[in-house]
Symmetry: D2
Subunit: 474 residues, 4 copies
């Protein structure tokens, strides 16, 4: 069995305790990782603080390191994809796509490292300031504490680490304890790519120990977190006056309007709702379908869903594999049962086998059912009919969340009415809520969080803008 | 009869010659204006050059002067509107709208004077430049030579003068010789508003004398011209290495798609094609109508056009008044005749009485007819059927011009296919080509010119960006 | 005595309790204000929520209302200045300057209301997204909870209210309980200016009741707070997943380098350290003077400080008046005593009479004395010698705060070394830390807070950016 | 001897005529190139027009091709450098530096291809436009006609070709007839990199034939030219309403202030004035030295210039090689003689041997001497004393040119006084005028041209911004 160590100050470190990482499909222990104790976490933060002071990489050096990392990620695509498939249970073809995206994330961050710049500020336009001249510069914040989730073990780590380094910061990364190996592999890659020691630490452990300790440490200037709204709130409330980037949950809505291309809608939704067993922040969860097209939509949805291949994630044809843990699958099943008891129908799916929950479509749901109003994070979506688009949107907006949403309609007025009124960070016209490319600004409103990801945008968040004003004599 | 003088170096100047300004409806001489000779033009440019060196207004002072001018324009709305109505023959309600817009143009320029700023340039990201820091500033170009047309005697003058002054430049303005009085009134207003002498000169005379002299004078750093492509080209070819903003002609196309709201299309087009007798750079001239909706569109267009009130421009109800000169109306009539001889039908209108040409719709036109391929600048539009949107757009793009265009369609894919492929500077979805608000970027491609108007954009053109790089020791 | 009421839902409201407002110089009760109970606060938030849904002002309407308010503020300058002088004890000439600045703040916010815009996002550059087109829009966040301090009773309220309204939000404002009257006057002005009812509420009361209740109310989407780091932290930790703008304290440092224009330095610092009795977030508190120029600097500082007129704030010649409360003056005196006991010398000042503390300069201080390491918020500054600029800056950066700082030096390399290394949000070359014009980005790093003020920047913070992506067929 | 062909429509083409390319040091024929006749030029433009319509590369595809080209340039560094050394006579170490820079230029252009985007336009802020939404997109202009000079046979070609392709345009390139081979090599590289045929053509011939024909062809949408002001003016005056980017000459000024680091000034200027025999647009030509430091400056300049190695450009130690042609060296010698006759002194240098002119410093020059007021484009600079910085700058600004300039001074006020008043496109503090990195905006004012180079900036110029406005029903 493979053994993994922590990565602190450029060194691979063992600790007293270890943590088992399961193969999520076979549920067998597949690797063993050193678990960070209090001392290791402290050492990691110390190392980051010192490295931040010591290593002042030029923008071009950061570019070179991140570019090299991007290339190494591509080079090791198959190996990395298989690690993700095993530790996350993510179907291989989705794992491969994740590697490609991570390589892009590093590439874009590398390029953005060379584009960090401030702007002129026309203070001379204020009465009495005629002789002044001002502009801003962007400076790194210092130590970034990154806490990442299991669902994209490489790309969501990349979205934290790559921009943080591009901006000139040092990083202490705590990956999800269920999927730490990919993150450790990334540390290895960055080490190979020439990252000076101390600019990245990877500490593995639970949120309640490692995470909590990180929250208390004032040397961390900024926390970048992706995870549940509950933990996001805790992070906000238990840290000091530090900065925060919070990428939290969603129960993503999509509208299928009466003027929709129903074929396109059904096909896209079938493909997007169940990728990685619905364990994606922007998986389609609430499908609002105009009653005039509901019947035909459901029919077509069924057809497209019949094509989904379910099972062993290492099979390159598989579309839907296991959930991250059997208890998570049980929880989702429970929510389904609760819905059914309250009147919902299972239109498709519903069966569970261990951690494997079949892609499920519910109908006749009610707004207060957990499958609708909370984030299910499972391969389960509900079809909700509507007759009036305005009422539909008012209802959609009842959600505490607001990450991404979408609409299928050919009508430009309907499309933009929705775009203007649906309370989300990103809205897709003729696409599902799950659309994301790594260069775009990504982030939610309301309980879905605060701050944008996408290398250019994260770098904005991970730098401070400093105004410099010159008082000139002539 | 009113007598007007030139405005040079803050003084009102008489010359040996005068120029008669006709009331364009009655065709009677309505005012007499001093005509600039060679000496006056030279003096005007000298005065501007000196004032540019001498008067370094702070951005806030420029703001205050332009704001005051904006207010004075509003205060004198009725008087100014009546001047425009008389010297341009523009219907009073359109003249009033022009005054409101000019006031906005000055207001926005005033505000933009306080927002001129450069940006940071990350030279430190280039290998070997790690110790450098760079940013840009925007500096005024110097003397702006403004040459303006008759169709918006106040607002198109404002679009040159207001941003030029906002940017810190001095101006020599040559208004259209047919409509000089409004421009002189504006000089009076700016004088009242506290503009230091020499920052604005108004010289009246023909293009072939005053205009030509201005072209030869190397002290003018930038020419801002609105007028015909022919004169624009001359300006480009006969000036030195000066900067140019050229706002030239168009034969504006609008598409009425089979999925259009035909009612909206007909109503908008009826209103937009004939305002100021079609003498607007972005008047609808070519109406491409899908054959499936052609009949109903023509019917509705006829209905809406029947509502247009034609005649005396001083009547506040009038929609369409005389053209700028009888020979212009004769020219347009000739083009119509030519078209008819080659097979076109006059669907509506066609009659002429002096300078008054009735709003005219032609059908059965061919691409090579002048009513289609040249800029008619008269209340004449042609309806051209199409069956395939792609072919239609290819045909539309044959034009040498590319200022603005539009499409009426409810279909989002059709709308954006057109937006992406029609070769214009501005494209309107569910609106006519004539949409313009003064804050937006306005300007054409191909023979429609170069450079954008709209105060924010003109200020960009009327300033130079200077890069400042510091080579720092540490 | 004047009586004041709360302003909720466009109505002036009495409550069961009142709060006395003292004249800070005479220490007599000068006005009485209704005190908000739990019910009033709830009503205020309800009213704001409803108004936000109901009143969708166009950007131009917002512009008009804020512009009108700006003008009314100017019109009522003398009355407003006298209110500030009495309720805050701020010297009249500084109060007048504050009115002028507030009028500018509203003006700039009005103008920025017309400039809110998103940007294009090149998603088509991502592999597989070739047919997509994307851009962002900015939407208001909803209800803004504004909590403002006593030191700028009008302008710091303006910096919250004006951009919040410019962005399209509704506001619940809790002004400092020591200086509520100016804020209520501003509500009156906005009411006169045509603000629809419900878009602004003013609730008066203590932080521990009204403030706490506001923190718990999830209907407030964003809190904008100016005040102490301690309360700022509480606000962060006791609110939900809402947005925060925190403008907190500072112990502002200024360097006087050996190559400084010492005359300029002494004059500026004398003027800036004691305005409003040093109760300004960016008052100069730590003066790092190169040992080569220390003697001459101290001499000149003494000369300039001798010119400061101290006493009755209603006297238009007064430079330094009372502190906000006698106990605050006592606290400052205590800190001075503590310093003296530990070895500091009082070079100038130190005497206290009631709330009036004389402008004080300390020498021989140590980094750990509270007069140095905490925010004194009193007319007290310390002169600290240094011999090496790099060490000096390292020492300066020990502070938990980082709002603004400055340097006096003629040497460009020294100036920019400092600008690059001093950890602050704004750095002034040849100016004191106290430089601020209202159009510039203003805000700190570290414990000085998060988020920028200045209307353009606050509007950024008070809107959400929504990405709209179109998936086009062709 | 090597034979080269034209590159048209992806094919290598022979013609009836050939053109000899000399080795500029040995003056022997070193290669023979097919010379484009009228037919070839026409074919090239036709091919570009068709390819522009046919080949719609996605931004990512453009990125990939340009990135590959960047890598191939690096891979072939030694070969390309030797070609430049031979056909341009450029010293090998400078030729190598040029290859590195070209690789960067292609790299940055590749990256910028993925960043082309428009912006939101707040038309909804105009009264009456509340229901509208607007944004801009950037579209390629079409066929770019690139005309490039001999002094950077690869990098100045790269600055035209790389951004043109990045923007989605097709290119017809006419390289300098003295240095065509590098350009042809670049075509080979782009072909290898996967550029679809027709997107780049290289036609070799003289300006008076090939250049003139290109000017007359209306299918070219934009001309990008680097060369003399004389030819630039011709290009402006003899083309139609096409767009122009003109990068013309300069007689670059640098100030050595009394507070300068004279050592740094002398060292930098010695290195920068004579690189590639002064045949660089931004070579230092006019050195304004404060009289207080003139003596020491001249002394140190002499010392540093003594280190320059002169002679065979293929020797990797050589700093100064031959000029591009013997007659050019003769012309420079003549200008020196003329100056000497009018009173100038040759402080250093002045000797000529064939095309090799020794680095020359003149003193006692007068403003009207050609060595001062015209662009000498030879290894010749003049030292001009001054006593008052303001007068000095006024004198400097008499020049018709305004590309780049610089100042050496430690005084921040002097530095920024100069930066604000010297009329140039780029101003260097504590650096010579010759500073350029390829990512920065580069371009002059006055007769030095129009439009900025640097991939990001050229892409701006080589695209058109199209405004799209939606008129929405709700």
């Amino acid at each position: 069995m493979q053994q993994f160590q922590l990565f602190i100050d450029g060194k691979w470190i063992d600790t007293n305790e270890t943590l088992d990482v399961l193969d999520k499909y076979s549920q067998e222990v597949y690797a063993r990782v050193a678990k960070a104790g209090e001392e290791s976490v402290d050492e990691a933060i110390t190392s980051a603080s010192k490295a931040f002071e010591r290593e002042k990489l030029s923008p071009f050096e950061r570019y070179q390191i991140l570019l090299k990392a991007s290339q190494l990620i591509s080079d090791q695509k198959e190996e990395l994809a298989m690690i993700i498939t095993r530790e996350a249970g993510k179907p291989l073809k989705q794992a491969r796509a994740e590697i490609d995206r991570s390589s892009q994330t590093f590439l874009v961050a590398a390029e953005e490292a060379k584009r960090i710049h401030g702007e002129g500020v026309p203070v001379e336009a204020a009465p009495g300031s005629e002789n002044r001249m001002a502009f801003t510069i962007k400076v790194p914040v210092g130590v970034v504490g990154a806490i990442s989730p299991f669902n994209f073990p490489l790309n969501l780590v990349s979205h934290k680490v790559a921009p943080a380094l591009a901006a000139g910061n040092a990083v202490v990364l705590k990956p999800a304890s269920k999927t730490p190996i990919t993150a450790l592999k990334l540390a290895e890659i960055l080490d190979q790519a020439g990252l000076p020691k101390g600019l990245l630490q990877v500490v593995v452990g639970s949120g309640s120990t490692v995470g909590n300790q990180m929250m208390k440490d004032q040397r961390i200037a900024l926390y970048s977190f992706t995870g549940s709204a509950k933990v996001g709130l805790k992070l906000k409330q238990e840290t000091g006056l530090n900065r925060l980037i919070l990428e939290l949950g969603n129960n993503s809505p999509v509208i299928v309007d009466k003027e929709a291309d129903v074929e396109l809608a059904a096909k896209t939704i079938a493909a997007q709702s169940f990728a990685f067993a619905g364990q994606v922040c922007i998986s389609v969860q609430r499908i609002y379908v105009h009653e005039e097209v509901q019947e035909i939509f459901l029919e077509k949805l069924k057809e497209y869903m019949a094509d989904l291949k379910i099972g062993d994630p290492t099979d390159p044809e598989t579309d839907v594999g296991p959930m991250i843990a059997e208890d998570e699958a049980e929880r989702a099943e429970e929510w389904i049962q609760e819905a059914v008891e309250k009147g919902a129908n299972i239109f498709i799916g519903g069966e569970r086998e261990g951690a494997l929950l079949k892609p499920t479509i519910l109908t006749d749901v009610k707004p207060e059912m957990r499958v609708v109003c909370e984030e299910i994070f499972a391969p389960v979506a509900s079809v909700i009919p509507f007759s009036d688009i305005k009422q539909c949107i008012t209802e959609m907006n009842q959600s505490d969340y607001g990450l991404q949403g979408g609409i299928f309609t050919q009508n430009i007025d309907t499309a933009y009415y929705a775009a203007k009124h649906v309370e989300v960070g990103g809205f897709m016209i003729n696409d599902g809520s799950q659309y994301r490319v790594d260069l775009m600004p990504y982030g939610g409103v309301k309980d879905s969080g605060n701050g944008k990801e996408g290398p250019k945008y994260s770098i904005e968040e991970m730098t401070e803008e400093r105004l410099i004003v010159m008082n000139l004599k002539v």
